[in-house]
Symmetry: none
Subunit: 210 residues, 4 copies
Amino acid sequence: MTEDNNSCQTRHRLLESACRIFAEKGFHKATIVEICGEAEANVALVNYHFGSKRKLYDKAWRHAFTQAQACFPLDSGLTEKATGEERLRVFIFSFLNRLLDKGSAGYFARMMNREMAEPTPSFPAIHEEALVPTRRYLCGVLRGLLGAEVAEEEVFCCCYSVISQCVFLLHHLPMREKVLCKESEMYEKIDTLGEYLTRFCLGGIQAVRK
Amino acid sequence: MTEDNNSCQTRHRLLESACRIFAEKGFHKATIVEICGEAEANVALVNYHFGSKRKLYDKAWRHAFTQAQACFPLDSGLTEKATGEERLRVFIFSFLNRLLDKGSAGYFARMMNREMAEPTPSFPAIHEEALVPTRRYLCGVLRGLLGAEVAEEEVFCCCYSVISQCVFLLHHLPMREKVLCKESEMYEKIDTLGEYLTRFCLGGIQAVRK
Amino acid sequence: MTEDNNSCQTRHRLLESACRIFAEKGFHKATIVEICGEAEANVALVNYHFGSKRKLYDKAWRHAFTQAQACFPLDSGLTEKATGEERLRVFIFSFLNRLLDKGSAGYFARMMNREMAEPTPSFPAIHEEALVPTRRYLCGVLRGLLGAEVAEEEVFCCCYSVISQCVFLLHHLPMREKVLCKESEMYEKIDTLGEYLTRFCLGGIQAVRK
Amino acid sequence: MTEDNNSCQTRHRLLESACRIFAEKGFHKATIVEICGEAEANVALVNYHFGSKRKLYDKAWRHAFTQAQACFPLDSGLTEKATGEERLRVFIFSFLNRLLDKGSAGYFARMMNREMAEPTPSFPAIHEEALVPTRRYLCGVLRGLLGAEVAEEEVFCCCYSVISQCVFLLHHLPMREKVLCKESEMYEKIDTLGEYLTRFCLGGIQAVRK
DNA sequence: TATGAATGAGGTTTCATTCAT
DNA sequence: GATGAATGAAACCTCATTCAT
C-alpha cells in the first residue's frame, strides 16, 4: 500500500475499475477504453500511470489479492488450540467467502478463474505470490489431519480435492448466471454449503488415511 | 448429424480444424484465419459454410462432444449387475480420460474448460445438451450409493464434488504447462489418480450418508 | 518480379505509393494512412498484402532498387574495350542520374539517404543486397585506374571518395529545396557536374597512385 | 548567448541532455520524456523554459555548434604565413575531428547528419548561421590554391568535394555500427584518413586547375 | 520555478465479415 | 463450392502539450 500511495485519486479510481472489469471480463476482453470510461479518465492515463494494460493488470491482481486476504483470512478466528477439523472448516469457509463475494473481496478469485483457463503472461508471478502460499497453508492443515505417515503426494492430492470443490463453485458462477439453474440455489447459502464440504472432505480424508 | 454430411471435404476439414483450435485457444483467441490456414481453406469459407464464427463454434462443440462420448462412454464395460462403487469408478475413469485425452476425444473438455471461465453465447445450449445429461447420469449412480432417504439436494452436491475434482485437473493443465509444478507429476498417471479419486469420493459419500 | 506478380492492381498501387512516400519522408515519418490514401486503398490492406509497415518497406526498397538499376545501369553503353577513365565517367554519370532523378528511378537513392542517417532494421539487408555490389563494381573500376600495386585499403578509400562526392548532392537536395541557394544551380546540369567530378576524381586518383 | 545565462541549473541540464539525445537520435525520434529523464527534470519544464520541443532544438543546435567551434577551430594553429596546402590540411583535420568526436564537440555534426537527410523547420537558420560561414572559410582557402583565374563556380564545387568526403564518414557511422564493415577499420585512425583526404583533394584541385 | 496529472490527436495492427467473380 | 481482395470497427500505445497548484 505504501508504493501504491493513493496520493492520486484518478490513479486509484483506475485501479479499482481495473479490478472490477478484469474480474468481470478477464484480461483479454477487458478494454482500456472501458476501464477508463468507468473511472472517468482519459485513455492515455492508463499508460501514464501504469505503463501498459499488462502492467495495470499486474497491479490489479495484487490489489485484489490483498483485499481478499484482508477480508477473509484463511485462519480467521482460530486459536492455537484449534483442532485440525476446525482449521479445515475455517479454511473452507474463508475460501468460499473469497470465491463467492460479489464485491471487491471476490475480484481476485474471479480473475484466477480466467487465469486458470487462459493464463496470461502474469500467471507465473500470480502462482508464486498468491497460489503457492495458499496451497502451502492448506497442506499444513491437511498434514495435521492425515498424520505423519501419509506420503507428501497424498497430502497434495487432498489439497487439490478440497480446493477443487470450492473453486468449482466459482467456476460455476457463469453457468448459474446464464442458465438460472434453480436446483443450485442452495449454493447461495454459504453456511449450508460449507458444512457439506467440510463433511465430505473429512470423509474423503478419512478414507485416504485408511 | 445428417446435415453434417461429409459430401464436402473442405467443410469437414474446417470443422476438424475448428475443434482443434477452439480447444487449444478458446473461442475468442482462435481466429478464422488460423482455422482456415490449418484446413488449407479460404477464409471466406467459414462464413460460406457455417454463417459465422459463432455458428462454426456451435457445430464444433457438438462435433467434439460426439467424439468424446464415442471414445469414452460413461458406463463403459459395465454390466447390469455392476455395484454402485463399480459404476462410480468407471464414471471417474471415463471422465478423466475425456479430460486428459490429448487428441480429438479431449477437445470437448478443453472447450468446456474455457466455456466455464468465459462463457460464450453458446453456453446455454451446451449446458442443456451436454452437461445436464452427464450430470443426470452421475446423479443416478450416486443415488444408488447414497440410498433413497438422502435428499435430492445432497445427491446433487455429491455430484458436483465428484465432477469438480475431476475437472480441476484440466483446469490445472495450463498451470502445469506454464509453471512446471513437479509435485503434480503423479497426475499424469490416470490410473493412480482415478484410484485416489474413487477412494476419496467414496469416503466423502460415506460421510454424507452418515 | 515474378513473385510480385501484378495480378492485383491495388497491391501494385500500394507498392508504388509506398516507394514514393518512403522516398519523400523516410520510413518513420511516412504513415500507412498516407500511403493508402494515395493508393486509394483501405488502411488494412497494407497488412493484408504485406503483413506490416516494415515488410512493405522491404518490398518497397527492393522495388525501387530494381527500378534504379534498370533505368541507369552502372556500365551503360560500355564496350569491353573501354578504358578505365571511360568506365569511371560512366559510373559517375549513372550514379548521378540515379541520385538526381525526380521520378521512380530516384526513389531508391532518396531512401538510402535516410537509411544512412537513420538506419531502419532493414538496413543490413539493404547493405548486403544493394550497397555492397555497387561498391564492389566501383572498386573494380578503380583498381584498373590505380594499378595492381596499390593496397586494397586505398582502393577502398578512393571508392568512398567517388561515392561520397556524388551522394553529397543528394544529401544536399533538401538544403537546396529549403534554402534556394542560387549558387548551386549548376548542380542541376548533370553534364557539367559529371565532367567536373570525373576530372576531380581522376586528379585525386592520380595523386593517390603517386 | 547572454540569454542562455546559466542562472538556472535545470534549464542548463535540459540543454545538455537535449544536445546529447538530439545528436544520438535525431529530432523526431528524440522524445521530451527521454530528454527530461536524463536531465532529471519534469516533462513540463521543456515547454516552460523553451516553449516547445522545436524551440529547444533551436537552442540545442546552436549550443552544440558553439562547442564544436570552440574545441576544433578551422584554422587551429595556423600562422599568417601558412601555405594554402597547410591551411587545407588543417581544415580537413579540424573538420574530421568535429565529425568523429564522440563527446559534446561531435554533437553538432551528428545533428547535421540527420538534418541533411531529414531537415527540420530549423534548417534554414542552421544553414545561414553555421553552414554558410564554414563554407565561406573553406572557399577562401581553396581560392588560394586554385588561383585567381578559376571561376567562382569551380571553387564552389571543390568546396563541396572536400566537405562531402569528410561528411560521408559520419554519414557512414551508423552503417559501420550496424554492419561492422571490417574493411573500413582504418577510418578510425583520423591521422591516416586526414592524410589520405588531403592528398586526394590536392590531386583533385590540381586537376581542376589544369 | 517546478511538479504531477491530464489531454487529444495520431499511429499500427488485428480480425470478422463481405463482395465480386 | 471456392477464391482473393477489400472493408471498417476497434484495440493498444505514443507523445507533445497544457493545466492547476
